[in-house]
Amino acid sequence: MSLLRRVAEQERKSVSFWLDGKPLSARAGDSVLTAVLTQADQLRRTEFSGTPRAGFCLIGCCQDCWMRSEDGVAVRACTTEIAEGMRLLSGMVPAVAGDTA
């Protein structure tokens, strides 16, 4: 399931990245948010209730799209461009043993 659908600008170079351990591809110039939400339906889970979130404002204000990379770096998905080989976590599957995703 996806939350975004491409309707224009389809002729761009492909970029490979990983989401929750799965290899996926995006387009050069995609934000991390676009790269993920054109093929998934969440970016993170909240620290409190653990409910899924998928961003809200897309202009760097609401801070509701912070993802994690596999090495623990926080990435604001709406303002970060996707890059070759990024390894992102959406909270969809447990990141480490004991996680309650």
Binding site: T46, G55, C57, Q63, D64
Partner: protein
């Protein structure tokens, strides 16, 4: 041109949207070389946002009716580039007033400092948000978000899209979405079409803008898109993502299946940096928001700090271009420029003309507010379990409990007691609703409930950058 400035001023413009670009242009024309700092990667602001390099849609496709204005602004900026110190992709996360004042910057994860003698704040606006049941579900976005996805990324919200809220962006977005091939199943307006007629005299002052709105509505109707007015109490439902939206209208509840929702209730100024710069704030009834005080030309209460564009009161992109120029002219005047008497008289005359145009624009804004009143009263009556703060997931009931049990009557006290407005977004999303709930629970006006104070960093920064800033001070 090329006036000699006695001491070289360190002029920093924050924001490269319509206001910032025109302010920079005005200063460059006077022979100055301002620093222009922008959080975006490319100039244009939100309204004339440019997609990343390599995207191919024409300006006409991207900006529709506004293509010529977007083109003019972008090309003006391109011409300015050699004369300015442009810092794109740079967050200003702190501002410390002084002589000189200092800005803390973050670029590419690294901290930097920038002294300033003069500041022109062109910080823009974002959607005014009202919480409603289900507003945190994946698939629910702001109107601005839905528009940015299309403009900057060539994407639309997937599946059946409902567009709900108020303000001119509602119908514009619906039009852009349908044109782009999105499946828009309904446009829900929280205002009544009758209100728009009452506002007619004021709206007719800017008949072109008004005509565009009517055009979008007519176009959408012709395409068979249901346009429903007088909508209240929207609520989204869904298990993992949004699956349906219901609303009431005239006491009757309706529900529609959908996969996405774009929602917003007009715009709200981004004022955090003005606050840190020490500007005096006043509660603005028209905007229903605390705004930095400014004179006709854009001077704030702090000498050397100027305000332009939607960041100090919503007036739209055309007005932002004018107010950017007006603020820069005021700054030049305060520097004693232009020195030549004839040029000085001409600049003063232009300033007066700009002020007059901006005042008449304000009357149009008053018309818009009548046509698209803000649904702030929703928050008053919301259920106790409604999450008001997205960041820290604080429900309305907790705010009301603080009023009842701890006697909280002031918004910053409420923040300290409940953490509302303390999360990562610094109250940008929840601030208006929290103030409304507090005001209603204590029986005072929103203005009397006080102003939610901000703290640096105005947006999250990496710990390493904060430590670097600490070391340098």
């Amino acid at each position: 041109m090329n006036a000699i400035v006695p001491t070289s001023p360190n002029i920093v413009i924050i924001g490269a949207g319509p206001a910032g670009v025109r302010a920079a242009q005005t200063l460059v024309e006077a022979g100055l070389h301002p620093i222009v700092i922008d959080e975006n990667r490319r100039a244009g602001g939100q309204i004339y946002r440019q997609p990343p390099p390599g995207f191919v849609r024409s300006k006409k496709e991207l900006y529709g009716f506004e293509a010529a204005k977007a083109e003019a602004l972008h090309s003006s900026f391109d011409q300015l580039r050699p004369a300015i110190d442009y810092r794109p992709d740079t967050l200003v996360w702190n501002c410390m007033p002084g002589h000189p004042g200092q800005l803390d910057l973050l670029h590419a994860q690294r901290h930097a400092e920038q002294p300033y003698s003069h500041l022109i704040l062109c910080t823009g606006a974002l959607d005014r948000i009202m919480p409603f049941p289900g507003w945190t579900l994946p698939g629910v976005y702001t109107l601005g978000a839905a528009q940015v996805a299309l403009k900057a990324q060539g994407c639309v919200l997937d599946g059946r899209v409902v567009i709900a809220g108020s303000g001119p962006l509602l119908y514009l977005l619906a039009y852009q979405y349908v044109k782009a091939g999105a499946d828009v199943v309904a446009v829900l307006d929280t205002a009544r079409f009758g209100g728009k007629l009452r506002a007619l005299p004021a709206l007719l002052r800017q008949s072109v803008t008004f005509a565009k709105g009517l055009y979008f509505m007519g176009w959408l109707r012709a395409k068979g898109i249901p346009l429903i007015d007088g909508v209240e109490q929207i609520a989204a439902d869904g298990k993992h993502t949004i699956q349906s939206l219901r609303w009431t209208r005239g006491g009757k509840t309706t529900e529609i299946a959908c996969d996405a929702l774009a929602t917003g209730f007009g715009l709200r100024s981004e004022t955090q940096l003005a606050e840190l710069a020490g500007c005096r704030f006043v509660f603005n009834e028209l905007n229903q928001q605390w705004l930095p005080q400014r004179d006709d030309a854009g001077r704030s209460s702090v000498p050397g700090v100027y305000l332009a564009g939607d960041g100090s009161g919503i007036a739209g992109a055309d007005a932002a271009e004018l107010s950017g120029r007006a603020a820069a002219l005021a700054l030049l005047q305060d520097l004693g420029l232009p020195a030549n008497a004839a040029a000085k008289a001409a600049a003063e005359q232009e300033s007066r003309r700009l002020a007059q145009t901006l005042r008449s624009n304000l009357q149009f804004r008053q018309g818009l507010e009548t046509a698209f009143p803000t649904a702030v009263h929703w928050a008053r009556d919301c259920a106790d379990d409604l999450v008001i703060c997205r960041c820290e997931e604080i429900p309305a009931g907790e705010l009301r409990r603080s009023v009842q049990q701890e006697g909280t009557v002031e918004i910053n006290r409420l923040k300290a007691m409940t953490r509302v407005g303390m999360g990562r977004c610094q109250g940008r999303m929840c601030g208006a609703a929290a103030a409304e709930i507090l005001a209603h629970a204590t029986g005072v006006s929103v203005a009397e409930a006080g102003r939610l104070r901000v703290q640096a960093p105005v947006k999250p920064i990496p710990v390493s950058a904060a430590l670097a800033a600490e070391e340098q001070t």
